[in-house]
């Protein structure tokens, strides 16, 4: 599930440093027009439409949420049905204890649906984003969680235009500075 291709590791990057999300979006747009492959952007807050501009597909975590939710509903029903109908029916006031009391299982089925959805989806999110302890984490600049936005483009032969052209595009879009980085700033704990 963990995509090694999106991890920084020791890849070589051209980095554009921005302090305005509008400029970052424009830079991404211009680079995508030239079909430059953008590795990733790092921002201290969610920038709207950035994922679409970068060409990131919408996540399918919602499918996982649905599956987990369905599992929760089934678990809730099976738990109640097995315990109160199959294994040991509790006859209170001579009332029947069979599938017709289904309605009183609904609250627990609902709660377990919510519980399973929430946990299943969050665990899937952590896994998909490789936010698991033990992984060495890659940060390119300490201020990327504070007030700066980074645009990272991998330096390799697959890019349609040269590195200097990429740099000039980033520069024209109003980057604060342009850096090159051969190695991630390692933060180890």
């Amino acid at each position: 599930m963990i995509d090694k291709k999106v991890q920084i590791g020791d890849k070589k990057f051209t980095l554009g440093v921005f302090n305005d999300e509008g400029k970052l979006l424009n830079a991404v747009r211009s680079l995508r027009k030239k079909e430059v492959n953008i590795f990733d952007c790092y921002t201290p807050f969610p920038v709207h439409h950035l994922d679409k501009e970068m060409g990131i597909k919408r996540t399918n975590l919602t499918v996982i949420a649905f599956i987990c939710g369905a599992l929760g509903t089934t678990t809730g029903f099976s738990l109640a049905y097995y315990m109160n109908v199959l294994d040991w029916p509790m006859i209170i006031g001579g009332k029947p204890m069979d599938v017709t009391v289904f309605t009183s299982f609904i609250p627990i089925m609902f709660e377990l649906t919510v519980l399973f959805t929430a946990f299943g989806m969050v665990i899937a999110f952590f896994t998909r984003s490789s936010m698991i302890h033990g992984f060495k984490q890659d940060i390119l600049d300490l201020r990327q969680t504070d007030d700066l936005m980074l645009l990272a483009i991998e330096v390799n032969e697959d890019q349609p235009i040269s590195d200097d052209e990429i740099k000039s595009i980033i520069n024209n879009e109003g980057a604060l500075e342009i850096r090159e980085r051969g190695q991630a700033l390692e933060v180890t704990y």
Binding site: F45, V47, M83, L112, T117, V122, R128, M131, T145
Partner: protein
Amino acid sequence: MYQAEIRKPLVTGGKSYADVTNDICRPIENKPSSSWWLGFSVALVLLLVLIGTLGWTTWEGIGTWGVNKTVMWGWDITNFVFWIGIGHAGTLISAILLLFRQKWRMSINRSAEAMTIFAVLCAAVFPLFHMGRVWLGYWPLPLPNAFGSLWVNFNSPLLWDVFAISTYFSVSLVFWYLGLIPDIATVRDRAKSKGRKFWYGFFAMGWNGSARTWARYEVVALILAGISTPLVLSVHTIVSFDFATSVIPGWHTTIFPPYFVAGAIFSGFGMVLTLLLVARHVMGYQDYITSEHLEAMCKVILLTGSIVGLAYITEFVIAAYSGYEYEQYAFMNRMFGPYAWAYWTMMTCNLIAPQVFWSKWARTTPWFIFIISIIVNIGMWFERFVIIVTSLHRDFLPSSWVMYKPTWVEAGIFAGTLGLFFTLFFLFAKFLPVINMSEVKTIIKDKE
């Protein structure tokens, strides 16, 4: 996006992204102030009271409480419902207002969610210790039963409550933690000492603000908000089922679920305002929690307070109309019986007091809002007391009519849960960013 000039900015003071980080990280990175120490010490003393009174209850038994055969639920369940209700505002702000795209929630959702989690913890104390033998507190769980063939009863609203409250607690905790991750990463990247780097690094889970992660993160937050919304409505609905599915006059009414949910949000906003008005003043966050925020919250109080007031009157009218003399007596007894003082306190605090928020001056004057918020807290505590104690103390059989008086142990436990709540809140204010930095950064250029 076009925004009309009439809209006021959500964050004042012309803050830059770095200003937001500096302002909100300040209390975490500096030594706590003397007012923090004072508040924390008082809370800690009350927490010791909780430990003491709960210890005494466990050692000696429920006989140390004032509850008896007729009034088997007294202060304990009153406090339980009170605390659960308080929690509801947090989820309303973080989930329901997210779905409604109310951007003003962004600077208050973090502390309101923290409040939810701490309030649910306080609430859990009461049913657990009311069981009498707290070490058997795991019995309501559907575990393979080693003591016979009997399982838990899935027809019982008390069991629904077990599931509802544990789900509510864990889902709120996950939602809160998920929101905290980007901010913990910010604190991690500013940390100087090794200890801070380790701990904030540990809890940040390697967050680096990648656009891919943000895209997923927003979807996860939206789905969590989507499922938390029916969850929060279900929790207080199920709490109200504890009463409504019984046959006790005064409890056996179909209006309970919506009435309890509105009451929960009403009381929760009362507590949110109490806490935020103090925090905003002490921490100097007037630019983030502006008078626009206070006004919006006062409007919610006005709305939910009026719904609650309407419910009180509806309940009374339906009882009068029902032609069922026990139900009619229950309501006459509430109004004119020995606990009438509690009923009229409730009516004054919940029905009359919030109506002052029709005035704009009242909605924007912090000291005045603070007083009303305290009145709302008191009123909502009395609402639960009235529902529980006045309905129980005189039921069908006059020979079993009694009065209920709490003992010092019950009073101590209630004061103690206030201690637990505030101890946790003070620790939260010291170690975690009380305002959601990453969300506030998206709205500093925005208007409401």
